[in-house]
């Protein structure tokens, strides 16, 4: 059996890609084959695991935050996977819940949606809010919306129903093989049904080994105040957060 592998193992230092795996004959060795299958198992389960809303609601209560539980028109996970268009629309019932809550206009609507990785949300959403909310406490906040089977664009409809100036959605990203629990955040100024992606600013890859909470929270707070100041978002809102960081050392611990 040839283990003609790892005379080049040192190349692994330069990349996260799965290189220098070795081989038996031309094939993967058992350990590598099963390591891949394990990562795929985690990613696949992340897509199909439902979000534990009760847990989230308890945490939000502890933080003294108002919230509403809502759902999209995708009534179950399979419909959600097959029909992204339905995940972008609120169910009739949810629209009624918002309207019956007599919302008063707010600066910011914050939404939390399962997206394609509920585990990403249950792992990161609360920790992230704990970092983010103190940075934007000068702005008014609509009740936090928890959304079952939601896609990014549902933030337009919800922000519009609350007459919020900005809609921010925390959402589970499509699981990668090496990043099954990664959270993304999208910010839209003047949320309106029918907005397209160039109207949004995105911060992705919030996960263990990815962007830390404090950095992502600082970046989102920067984008939030810039969007409110300039009254726009998306490709017209330049993300100069990193160069600001260099200037004033904000975010250094």
């Amino acid at each position: 059996m040839s283990d003609a592998s790892n005379s080049w193992e040192k190349l692994k230092d330069f990349t996260d890609a799965r290189i220098a795996l070795g081989r038996t004959g031309g094939s993967l060795k058992t350990q590598e084959l099963l390591a891949f299958r394990k990562d795929h198992a985690l990613a696949k389960d992340a897509v199909w695991t439902p979000l534990d809303f009760t847990l989230l609601e308890n945490e939000l209560e502890n933080m003294n935050l108002d919230f509403l539980r809502l759902g999209s028109e995708a009534s179950d996970r399979e419909t959600y996977i097959r029909r992204p268009d339905l995940g972008r629309k609120l169910s009739q019932e949810s629209i009624a819940i918002i309207k019956n809550s007599n919302p008063s206009p707010a600066d910011i609507s914050i939404l939390i949606a399962d997206g394609l990785s509920a585990n990403a949300i249950s792992t990161h959403a609360i920790f992230f809010l704990e970092e983010f909310l103190p940075l934007v406490d000068r702005f008014s906040l609509a009740p936090i919306c928890l959304i079952n089977q939601g896609r990014v664009a549902i933030s337009d409809q919800i922000g519009e129903l609350f007459s919020s100036k900005i809609s921010i959605i925390l959402i589970g990203e499509r699981p990668g093989l090496s990043s099954p629990y990664s959270m993304g955040i999208y910010l839209t100024y003047n949320p309106k049904a029918g907005n397209t992606d160039e109207k949004r600013n995105c911060i992705s890859n919030i996960r263990v080994g990815g962007l830390p909470y404090a950095y992502a929270a600082g970046k989102l707070a920067f984008l939030t105040s810039e969007a409110l100041r300039l009254k726009l978002s998306g490709i017209d809102l330049k993300d100069t957060f990193d160069s600001q960081l260099l200037k004033n050392d904000f975010g250094k611990k």
Partner: protein
């Protein structure tokens, strides 16, 4: 023209040709989402029965997207070769399937009629074919292309080395590239999907790969898969551009959503001819396609996703490409729901591309929200190997850490070579032997410390 058929107690009516094509399509979630698919299996088989009886000539009379509104329809009309069509002009779609499968119909005969086929005829016949038909007929057709080596010969099978990196980091890309070369991957192309589409990034990566190729005298071509307008810009700046890449779709509106027109491609093609960097041949365009692109761009005109896909091949064929790659499972479950749909689509695209005269390869792949896994990819890889596919992707460990999806690995190509006895492009095969990386049978040799490729 209205089409009818009766199945069981039900009489089915289809208002036009594009509806027959859509309803005759094997089940695809994208056609269902667009409301184009057959409502049930009876309607699907009724449409197939109708389709089988439609004369090929009818496809020249009834456009599914009017030429007045779509530049690709105009291209299809203008490039149709009626002389090549002559010998099959009396056939129906069903008769055409029988002709393709006949012992007497070999690859040469198919190549002779190919310029007389419109994409809609090709899509139509694929819709009434079994998977084994798609494999058998494709295996008769060889499409050989050349730039610095020879791709697509019978008994040969090539790979694109895909060393993507989440930050376009030069060292990371180089580590994956060396790893791939040590597995004998990269004879179709060493091709990077850049994160940034900036001309400066593309230039930096192009120069890096060009230097590597020169340093080890690797008989292959390199490519940064940037937007075609970025590549044209770089050609004007004398960058070392081997292949000109673009993702293409089957309607004018799809392509304008991708930010180019046929005129842009004409300009790129002209620039490539003037560059003249190929040593053994002059094929230098590299196109990627995939079912569902027209639908996700809201640009399908009521045409099913597989027919839209074959129309993209009419665009490709104008430019005599080195490589055409259908990226079959990347688009997501809303277009191809599971392993079964991905496998069917991969076989369809390979067959249809070959029948259109294209050097078809396949990115055999899936995302984690599709109901598929690596075993489905093994199945499609084996089927396409038997069908005579020109090339596949080689991604380290099958895990693309930049695009976040799974494709075929360096090890996967070694598997298919072993079971089917497939060799690499001859020039590249010779280089591997010379570099002491593989033996004459194509088996990889142990790489010793101090191997030249490890000095980098």
């Amino acid at each position: 023209m209205v089409y009818h058929h009766t199945v069981g107690n039900f009489n089915f009516t289809f208002p036009d040709l594009k509806t027959v094509l859509a309803k005759a399509s094997p089940e695809k979630s994208g056609d269902e989402m667009a409301g184009l698919a057959a409502k049930n299996e009876q309607e699907r088989i009724a449409a197939k029965l109708v389709l089988a009886d439609i004369p090929l000539k009818q496809f020249l009379n009834e456009e599914i997207i009017p030429s007045e509104t779509d530049a690709i329809s105009r291209l299809i009309q203008e490039t149709h070769d009626s002389k090549s069509f002559q010998s099959i002009s009396h056939l129906t779609v069903g008769g055409f399937r029988d002709w393709l499968l006949a012992y007497e119909t070999d690859g040469l005969k198919i190549a002779q009629i190919s310029p007389g086929l419109t994409p809609e005829m090709v899509a139509a016949v694929s819709k009434i074919m079994a998977n084994q038909d798609l494999i058998l007929v494709a295996s008769k057709i060889r499409v050989v292309t050349k730039f610095r080596n020879t791709i697509g010969l019978k008994g040969h099978f090539s790979t694109r080395l895909q060393p993507n990196n989440a930050t376009d980091d030069a060292k990371g890309i180089m580590a994956s590239t060396i790893d791939g070369l040590l597995y004998g991957v990269g004879d179709a192309v060493i091709g990077i999907n850049p994160v940034s589409d900036s001309a400066d990034t593309t230039l930096r990566l192009l120069q890096m790969l060009d230097k590597l190729r020169h340093q080890y005298e690797i008989p292959t071509q390199t490519c940064i898969l940037s937007h075609v307008t970025t590549t044209i810009d770089l050609i004007n700046r004398n960058a070392p551009v081997d292949l000109i890449f673009q993702s293409i779709g089957g309607t004018e509106k799809t392509n304008s959503s991708f930010g180019f027109s046929l005129k842009t491609l004409d300009e790129a093609y002209q620039a490539g001819i003037e560059l003249d960097r190929g040593t053994v041949g002059k094929n230098f365009m590299y196109f990627e396609t995939g079912q569902g692109s027209a639908h996700s761009a809201n640009a399908h005109h009521g045409v099913d996703q597989q027919t839209c896909e074959v129309r993209a091949y009419a665009v490709a064929r104008k430019y005599k490409p080195l490589l055409v790659n259908t990226v079959v499972g990347f688009i997501g479950p809303e277009y191809l729901y599971d392993g079964k749909q991905v496998i069917r689509a991969g076989l369809e695209d390979h067959f249809c591309g070959k029948l259109m005269g294209l050097p078809m390869g396949c990115d055999i792949c899936y995302t984690n929200h599709i109901n598929a896994d690596q075993d489905d990819m093994d199945n499609l890889l084996t089927l396409l190997g038997v069908a005579g596919c020109n090339f596949i992707m080689g991604v380290p460990g099958a895990d693309d850490v930049m695009l976040n999806y799974q494709s075929t690995s360096f090890h996967d190509q070694l598997y298919i070579r072993q079971v089917l006895g497939l060799k690499r492009a001859p020039e590249f095969e010779e280089w591997l032997f010379k570099m002491n990386l593989s033996d004459r049978t194509g088996k990889m040799l142990e790489v010793k410390q101090g191997s030249k490729l490890l000095d980098l």
